[in-house]
Amino acid sequence: MLQPATLTALAILALACGSLLGLARAGSDFATLSSLGPYLARLIVSAGLQAALSALLSLLLGIALALALLRRRFPGRELLLALLTTAAVAPTIVIAFGIVAIYGRSGLLGGLARGLGFEPPSIYGLHGIVIAHVVMNMPLVARALLHAFEREPGERLRLASALGFSAADCFRHLDWPLIRREAPALGVLVFLLCFTSFAIVLSLGGGPANATLEVAIFEAVRFEADFARAAALAGLQLTICLGLAALLTALTPRGRDEAGAERHAPRPDLGALRGLDGFVLALATILIAPPLLSVASGLGALPLLASTEFARAAATSAVIAVSAGLLACLLALLLASAARRSRRRSRLPELAAFALLGLPPFAFVAGLYVLLRGFGDPASLGLFLVPLVNALMALPYAYRLLAPALATSALRHGRLAESLGISGWNRLRLVEWPALRGAFGAAFAFATALSLGDFGVIALFGGGELTTLPYLLANRLGAYRIDEAGALALVLVVSAGGLAFLTQRWSARHA
């Protein structure tokens, strides 16, 4: 019999491939990409370079940040953690404008530089894209690693203390093995996010030398309505992403068998490396906080928002985001449940999660539309499809947070649970949930906030009944109302931040 995890993974892969085939079928004739050959090759090379650079920097800084947060306790630590989650899930257009508000020609730093009498360098170019991507993804890496560290068995830390481990020993024997285990998958996650980035790449790229395949896919779907080509391009992107994911997940070492379960032991190096950690924390805060806090400029325009249209959009957004968040967590748990049984870890759930990152939202939604167009009118289809697609888009994040937690639980309690005959729902409730709660809170916050800021999916179905906050933001920006768009950006960022903060509190209380 098929395991739930395998079943879920196959269903996801079938939906992905089915949507692309459906899209191809809606096209008028057979697509050939050969005429685009050199153009595509250049796109892939430039996107690959950009993504590799973004991923490498995000990974290095994220690891340093996670270690610093692990070793230090300071006032405002919780706020910084919430800020990290917010940066990772904020709508890309908000991040792009945030970067410009700080580093742009008339931004905070640009203005300062000109005040001091020299012309600041332009933010537009590869470096601008990489900065924006690091702002979004360094926090993602740090948050995921922090969760992994917090699951480390306390016995090991106690032993390390008894042996008088120095900070260097701690790193070598405690931290490095964990980083070695988690980093490759996180690296792939970030690489794929940057490889498929779109609005940021065009806003900050400075010219067509910086682009991604997603630009070509958007062009084919939205501008040429050439669905056969869009499907072929999407298939190409999916293949590249899957190939990469397969290669790198294969390099990820397996978790070791852990017997201990005692948690909450203090780290022996708590408070060590004060200088280094202080520097890393300051650097991260300086990099992440200003672009996000720049949305405060929308404060003055908040009164402009008061309207029934806004109230309805906020309510629609909340309903869609919460259902997408819950669905994403549910699907992630189903995928991750593979870790419960198989001693040989199956790569299939992992691949299904990564496949969703390679799937271009515009092509995916258009394909689903074709598959389902016979079944109902677009408006009511959207009501059901928008949360579903948002959940699938957030699934890779939720999976990355939940899967290691479930795997650890399986390693620690799996045999005991089996010998006691606890399985299925009872096992989740009695054995896994207590250990999972922290990660679940984080995954829910991530997925919900991500869906809250989503514009890619709502773009096709939106309007009329289905007006969400990001949709309203785009609408105002398209009607010269930049002040009101700023106020909406503020609402989105504050909601994401508030959600992150609350779930963090909840997770901590139930840890």
Partner: protein, 339 residues
């Protein structure tokens, strides 16, 4: 029969009557579905007033179905194919007109287009313009005292203003500027692009991001519409935003509407198209959509439009030519700007 039973049968009878009556009530008035882009129907767009005005005279219900931008309208219609519920589409970009017609999605509009006040004669019998605007570079006159007087000057002056443009692969005005450059420079367009490139801050995904960056003072000029300054004048009472008139002429942006081949309400759809060219609709366009009305209403233009520049020469490439040459032009642009 006991009391409860009688009560129940009364209730179910009422329920059935209600269920039967609800659709009947809705069917009293025929419904017309019009696909459009979101800024047309948003809080600031003319959509709500257009709906009220049309419903007052048609005895029908008008439903706006909004996509996020004009580019997605055609894609949506094509995706829906035969199952589409659209009776009309309002907001197609002229550069996609040939694509739309080739896909066989529309049927003849049956309207008299000879009275239109477009800068060009309109002969197409399928798609009908409802508004238009010249593309133009908009600047803040308090910051840029001497804007370029021509496209050639803009391209040649190495110390000239910094620009924010839209990517021609993803945006209608972006593609419009590509055609503008080609109309003025011909085969020399590639060299002109290479010359202009150092002063281009970035090519954004769409008009909104570019205009946003310009308002945040990231560039001295933005590719927009000649009518953009009217918005600042009319709504914000700011007069410093101006469009720079260029000696070679300006490229034309035309927004089109059409009735679908699959509509089940051809009479009503045609009535809407006639209404679209009437004063009631056209007078909502200038300060609702911030574009020029396709057929100037009797009341003329509002005061905020008084200063809108009137280019003497209008540049336009035929939609069929755009369709057949777009790929090649974009490849040439890519090569010229990444050189």
């Amino acid at each position: 029969m006991n009391f409860l039973g009688r009560r129940m049968s009364w209730l179910s009878g009422a329920l059935a009557a209600l269920l039967l009556a609800a659709p009947a009530l809705a069917q009293d008035r025929p419904a017309l579905s019009v696909y459009t882009y979101s800024s047309f129907t948003g809080k600031y767009g003319p959509g709500a007033r257009v709906k009220a005005a049309f419903e007052a005279q048609c005895g029908c219900t008008l439903h706006w179905v909004a996509s996020d931008d004009a580019g997605s309208l055609l894609a949506r219609l094509k995706l829906e194919g035969e199952t589409s519920k659209a009776d009309l589409v309002l907001g197609l970009d002229m550069n996609l007109a040939a694509e739309a017609k080739a896909a066989g999605l529309f049927q003849p509009h049956g309207q008299d287009a000879s009275k239109l006040t477009l800068p060009v004669a309109w002969t197409d019998d399928t798609l009908l313009p409802f508004d238009w605007g010249h593309l133009a570079f908009v600047y803040d006159s308090t910051k840029l005292a001497a804007p370029p007087q021509s496209l050639k000057q803009l391209v040649d002056d190495a110390t000239g203003p910094k620009l924010v443009l839209q990517d021609p692969r993803t945006s209608a005005p972006g593609l419009g500027f590509l055609l503008w450059m080609r109309s003025v420079y011909g085969d020399g367009a590639d060299a002109a692009w290479t010359k202009l490139k150092p002063r281009i801050v970035t090519f954004t995904k769409g008009w909104s991001e570019a205009y946003g960056l310009f308002l945040k003072d990231e560039a001295d000029m933005v590719l927009s519409y000649a009518t953009s300054p009217a918005y600042h004048r009319g709504v914000e009472q700011k007069t410093q935003y101006k469009a720079a008139p260029f000696a070679e002429g300006h490229y034309l942006h035309v927004e089109l509407a059409g009735m679908t081949r699959t509509t089940k309400q051809p009479e009503l759809a045609r009535r809407f198209l006639a209404f679209m060219l009437s004063d009631a609709f056209q007078s909502l366009i200038p300060e609702g959509n911030w574009m020029m009305p396709a057929k100037l209403p009797a009341g003329g233009l509002p005061a905020s439009f008084a200063e809108v520049i009137k280019p003497e020469k209008t540049l336009l490439v035929a939609p069929e030519t755009v369709r057949s040459q777009r790929r090649g032009l974009i490849d040439a642009w890519l090569a010229a700007t990444t050189r």
